[in-house]
């Protein structure tokens, strides 16, 4: 049996015991990160309804719903380096399905959410298939085209609001609001419901990241050669990632529809998908905190600005600059910088070595 520990790192001649310890430490850190996420979201779910007024709780519902979509973007970009510029369009598609099923068939809310997720999952996978062998830039363009196409279609058809027929549009009489789940009729309750969904989605993604899928995605990101020589089925894992990101978008759309009650066909332009991507990157694509920050940026910042009578367009300037900043100097986004700062602080306090 060969053993090179003495020569490779003379100060750390490690035996199997130390390896076990190191692995256990790594595993517990992962677990701790996940529990921190649950704790943070629990705090938000409990505290925010008390602290926020009626207007703000509605904004925060949307923010948390959008965070789910941002999680999908972060997955594709952070794990696979793929740029998707149609996430908001997929969100719209999911929202459309949820609204149509809810108004037309009176299905329970959860089923509508799952159906929305499944629909956008499927569309996402279809979008991803041609991406398999494409230069990253072409994927960005394909998704931008899809977003543009969706914009045209949804502006013309609008969202279902209680009517008959394929499009489910009501003519003349009052437009319906989407039925919320029986347990979550009030805004405060619905906010908690959305946060729970967000926690579930983020947990699902974390589970992927820490297991076989995450490792396979990392290999694909490294390069086709690395992935193939490790036996990774690139088609399978890449399509799966697209599907999961699409699922996030669809669920997000359904949650948004439930929160706002109605969706406006004029609010799903290509620009919105671009903004979703930009803010997901700014929020941070390598950590679960990123999508939460992205959701807040997407909805809470504009609300904040209008509270202070500042033009929302200044937010656009800020977001554009933030994207450039994130790309140039801080690729891990706000979340990454926060986590890095907190970890450094913790090390200094506890005195633990690197």
């Amino acid at each position: 049996m060969m053993s090179y520990e003495q020569t490779l790192s003379p100060s750390a001649a490690a035996g199997p015991g130390e390896l076990q310890q190191a692995l256990a430490r790594a595993a517990s850190e992962a677990r701790r990160s996940w529990l921190t996420m649950l704790l943070l979201l629990s705090l938000l779910a409990l505290a925010l309804p008390w602290l926020a007024n009626a207007y703000w709780i509605k904004s925060l519902i949307s923010a948390m719903a959008l965070a789910v979509a941002a999680a999908g973007v972060a997955l594709l970009y952070g794990q696979l380096g793929l740029v998707t510029l149609c996430q908001h369009a997929l969100l719209g598609a999911g929202g459309w399905v949820a609204l149509r099923l809810s108004h037309g068939l009176q299905l329970p809310f959860e089923l509508c959410v799952l159906a929305a997720g499944a629909t956008s999952c499927l569309i996402g996978m279809l979008a991803g298939l041609p991406a398999l062998r494409m230069k990253g830039l072409y994927l960005a363009l394909v998704t931008l085209m899809m977003a543009g196409g969706f914009q045209v279609v949804i502006s013309a058809t609008g969202f279902p609001d209680g009517g008959e027929g394929w499009l489910g549009r009501v003519v003349g009489s009052e437009r319906l609001m989407m039925a919320r789940p029986a347990l979550a009729l009030s805004d405060a309750a619905y906010f908690r419901y959305v946060v729970i969904c967000l926690a579930l989605v983020l947990s699902l993604i974390e589970l992927h990241r820490r297991t076989k899928a995450g490792r396979s995605w990392a290999l694909i990101r490294r390069g086709e050669a690395a992935a193939v020589s490790a036996g990774v089925n690139i088609l399978l894992y890449q399509t799966w990632a697209f599907g999961l990101a699409g699922f996030c978008a669809g669920v997000s759309g359904a949650l948004l529809a439930g929160g706002v009650g109605q969706l406006d066909g004029r609010a799903f332009g290509a620009g919105d998908s671009v903004m979703t991507f930009a803010l997901s990157v700014v929020g941070g694509v390598y950590h679960w905190l990123g999508p939460i920050i992205a959701g807040l940026l997407m909805r809470a910042v504009p609300s904040l600005l209008s509270d202070y009578n500042v033009s929302g367009f200044l937010a656009d300037i800020f977001f554009g600059a933030a994207l450039l900043h994130a790309l140039i100097t801080a690729p891990q986004g706000v979340a990454g910088q926060l986590v890095y700062g907190l970890t450094a602080l913790r090390r200094r306090i506890t005195g633990r070595p690197a």
Binding site: R133, M145, A278
Partner: protein, 285 residues
């Protein structure tokens, strides 16, 4: 066929702008490796500058010059100040950076001038050519002529001048060109400025043809992307042909019963079809 003529002509008008935008995008991509998502936004801000000047009764030629100049200056600013900070990253990121720039320019435009749609009325709109049920304002004639001139000009520049040769060399192999002593910065500057000029002209024409509104103009660049993709981000003649075809098809789509509200989806459909059919050329290296 006579019925279709007005649509054909109007399609040619907007198709020429798509073609011109496509050329502006491809020339820059080939020289610097960056696909400028801010192309439309640069055109938009140029158009607004022209609108402001015309509103103050400044002469038309000054308005045109300022529009194009604004776009050129901003394009140059990005190309020399921000693009180099991303030059070592992969091609997708370098292009995504221009998305950030687009948001900044678009946000500023909407903040300063407001988001309500306006008409960009140019003095050349007053006169028009009329034949066989078709009315072509002088602006459109000028636009078409300008488009043809610029496309021919860029073709000549690339094939007959030294700077054009350098741009082609850079497009072919950036690192090798640098090693061979090509002044990359100098050529880059020319590429960004030229692209900005195209953006400015296209912005003015589109604002005149459609309407003056920042978000609309920014994303009206997407059909130009469609044209550029069909040229495989490489061939200028194909890009031009594609742009014109997309414009014409989009206009003709109005005549298809029931399809009219969706006709602006034509560029996207065409582009998607092109990408799917030309997948083999879009493969990773």
């Amino acid at each position: 066929m006579v019925d279709l003529l007005p649509f054909l002509v109007s399609g040619l008008g907007i198709g020429a702008v798509y073609a011109l935008s496509g050329v502006g995008l491809v020339v820059l991509y080939r020289s610097s490796g960056v696909l400028n998502f801010a192309f439309g936004a640069l055109g938009a801000i140029g158009a607004y500058v022209a609108w402001s000047l015309l509103d103050e009764d400044w002469p038309q030629w000054l308005a045109w010059a300022s529009a194009v100049g604004t776009a050129m200056v901003l394009s140059l600013a990005y190309g020399r100040l921000l693009a180099p900070r991303l030059s070592h990253r992969d091609p997708t990121i370098r292009s995504i950076g221009t998305l950030g720039f687009a948001l900044i320019v678009m946000g500023f435009t909407e903040w300063y001038w407001g988001a309500q749609p306006r008409r960009l009325v140019l003095p050349t709109d007053a006169e028009a050519l009329e034949f066989a049920d078709v009315r072509l304002t002088y602006t459109r004639v000028l636009g078409l002529a300008l488009a043809l001139a610029m496309m021919a000009g860029i073709g000549l520049l690339l094939s007959r001048t030294r700077i054009g040769l350098k741009m082609r060399a850079l497009a072919n192999d950036r690192d090798l060109s640098a090693l061979l002593g090509l002044r990359v910065l100098q050529v880059d500057t020319v590429a960004w400025v030229l692209s900005g000029a195209f953006a400015g002209v296209c912005g003015l024409l589109l604002a005149n043809i459609v309407r003056l509104q920042a978000t609309l103009l920014t994303f009206l660049v997407i059909p130009a992307f469609a044209a550029a993709i069909m040229g495989r981000l490489n061939s200028l003649p194909v890009t031009v042909a594609a742009g014109i075809s997309i414009g014409v098809l989009e206009a003709l789509a109005i005549t298809v019963p029931g399809f009219a509200p969706y006709r602006t989806a034509v560029p996207f459909l065409v582009a998607l079809a092109a990408i799917l059919f030309f997948r083999s050329d879009a493969r990773k290296a």
